[in-house]
């Protein structure tokens, strides 16, 4: 099993959800996060006091999928989240040791 963590632009969420639904991925967890990579933030000025706001609002999507599917999911996700501009975000993939469905104790891929 693989966990796919994608940090994306908030305004791309609907596109990404739509695309993932299209290939049959129907479970995901989404959280509001703030951060930045190479993208610089912006400047805000309040009565002459300047602040560089470099931590920008992003969304983090977490999906756990089977080893057979993860490439396809990553490709679909990346394509849907891409605007081509700086700040589009990143995707990280890692191995998952175990998955458990709390309701009935299912383990492994059948818990996904």
């Amino acid at each position: 099993m693989k966990k796919i963590e994608a940090i994306i632009q908030p305004f791309k969420l609907e596109d990404v959800k739509e695309a993932l639904k299209g290939i049959g991925v129907d479970g995901m967890t989404i959280s509001d996060v703030r951060g930045h990579g190479r993208q610089k933030g912006h400047k805000e000025v309040y009565r002459g006091l300047e602040y560089n706001v470099d931590l920008l609002p992003k969304l983090k999507i977490e999906i756990v999928v089977t080893d057979q599917r993860w490439q396809e999911v990553v490709d679909t996700l990346a394509q849907a989240a891409r605007s081509g501009k700086i700040g589009d975000g990143k995707i990280f993939v890692s191995d998952i040791r175990e998955a458990i469905r709390i309701r009935n104790g299912d383990r492994g891929e059948s818990a996904l």
């Binding site: 000025v45 309040y46 009565r47 006091l49």
Partner: protein
């Protein structure tokens, strides 16, 4: 003619009783009815004005200031303004009104109206002959409420609540009441219309309200020191939406403040209303242009700050100047106050957190001086010589000396506010301590002082 004059001098009831002929009887009745109608109109406007001025503090100023602080301090900040509505009202009823407005010496009033004794429906002819004395007392109370509330902008996000209540109680007695008496009380040192030695024009509170609160705010900001993390940490307004609503309420409420200061529903009230509005409008544009030029962008915070600066500056002038000078005074205030809160504050490094000094101190001073330039008898003929001719008021009327009178009033207001505030701060510091602990400041006043949070959006 003689007997008629005598009759008019008496109260309408007595006039009826003594009236000799039916014609005179009817005349007296018509006269009394006209007087009653005027009183009803004036009283209606003044009661509405008093309510409008209270609305400036709550919710106006509470929202304006509340939006400018971080969200962990929104309740604590609103509470500071709101508490003045309660605290000052009680002190005003007990002794405040008397010390400001009963006859005393040139610097302070006496004890005649202690516990509001003798303040009822009967008008006080010295101040406002057509409205109940009680209406006048209430209208003045609302000014005494907003003035200390303005100071809270300088101590935002770090002052103890207990210290605030003690400070404001003492401040009212030491600074506000004497200043109000000097400028507006009968026999006060600066009262141009009621026997003052140095006639200083302050229609609605440039010296009494804005200079005293602004200068005291500066002393408080310097004495208390900077907020934890200022200016390196990001301390942004948490909701300019709240501040925007607050500023708009201030603009509307200010019509009660300035036009209400005519103390009747008169032409002078309309004139003050116009000056107030045009002053605020021009100041908004002045601030925005200065900001656009220097910072590259005209901001919403800049626009609403400019409006408030203009309202402050036009306050002392509002019942004395024509619309064109009002535009000038407003525009000048917008530009000057912009530089005060951007360049001057950062140059000296004091943390006047919400710019109570930069806007009220600077705008009030500018307005007080410019009143001496633009005040004209064409607008206000309240000052008359022995034969009943209106006397020249400001520079535009050819009265050069008025500028010096305005300076004198301004100077005394600065000195009284600065010295009084410093002494009171020392006393409060010794008695209860002024600042909250660092941990409490980091946690925010809402939780640490009041045990609540402003926004529990997920509960």
């Amino acid at each position: 003619m003689k007997p008629r004059v005598a009759i008019f001098a008496l109260s309408p009831l007595a006039a009826w009783a003594q009236a000799a002929s039916p014609a005179e009887e009817r005349l007296a009745a018509v006269e009394a009815a006209a007087q009653a109608a005027r009183s009803a109109g004036d009283n209606a406007w003044m009661l509405v004005s008093a309510a409008l001025v209270l609305m400036m503090t709550g919710p106006g100023l509470a929202l304006f200031y509340g939006g400018l602080v971080r969200k962990k301090n929104v309740l604590g900040t609103m509470m500071q303004s709101f508490s003045m509505m309660a605290l000052v009202s009680v002190l005003w009823a007990l002794f405040g009104y008397s010390l400001a407005f009963s006859e005393g010496n040139a610097f302070t009033g006496g004890f005649r109206y202690l516990f509001l004794n003798g303040v009822g429906a009967e008008p006080n002819g010295d101040y406002a002959a057509t409205i109940p004395h009680q209406t006048f007392m209430l209208f003045q109370l609302m000014f005494a409420i907003i003035t200390p509330a303005l100071i809270t902008g300088a101590v935002a996000e770090r002052m103890k609540y207990s210290a605030l209540l003690l400070f404001m109680s003492l401040w009212l007695v030491v600074v506000y009441l004497p200043m109000a008496h000097m400028v507006w009380g009968k026999g006060g040192l600066f009262n141009a219309f009621l026997g003052g030695r140095i006639p200083c024009f302050d229609f609605a509170g440039g010296t009494v309200v804005h200079i005293t609160s602004g200068v005291s705010a500066l002393v408080c900001a310097v004495y208390l020191g900077k907020r934890y993390g200022y200016p390196h940490e990001m301390i942004r307004p948490h909701s300019l939406v709240l501040s925007f609503i607050g500023a708009c309420l201030l603009w509307v409420g200010w019509f009660g403040f300035n036009a209400g200061s005519a103390l009747g529903a008169s032409g002078l009230a309309a004139s003050a209303f116009a000056a107030t509005h045009f002053g605020a409008a021009a100041a908004t544009i002045g601030w925005l242009l200065a900001e656009w030029r220097k910072m590259g962008k005209p901001s919403v915070l800049g626009g609403i700050s400019g409006a408030v600066a203009g309202l402050v500056a036009i306050t002392p002038a509002s019942g004395f100047v024509k619309p064109m000078p009002a535009l000038f005074i407003g525009f000048a205030a917008g530009v000057v106050c912009f530089y005060m809160v951007t360049a001057v504050k950062h140059r000296f490094g004091y943390d006047d957190s919400l710019d109570a000094f930069g806007i009220h101190g600077a705008g009030g001073t500018l307005g007080a001086i410019l009143t001496g330039v633009f005040a004209t008898r064409e607008i206000n003929d309240g000052l008359k010589d022995a034969s009943g001719n209106a006397l020249p008021l400001g520079l535009v009327d050819g009265n050069f000396g008025q500028i010096f009178n305005q300076f004198a009033g301004t100077l005394i207001a600065w000195i009284l506010a600065a010295a009084g505030t410093f002494v009171i701060l020392k006393v409060c510091d010794l008695l209860v301590g002024l600042r909250v602990h660092d941990q409490h400041e980091i946690a925010g006043l809402d939780l640490s002082l009041h045990g609540e949070e402003g926004y529990n959006l997920e509960s």
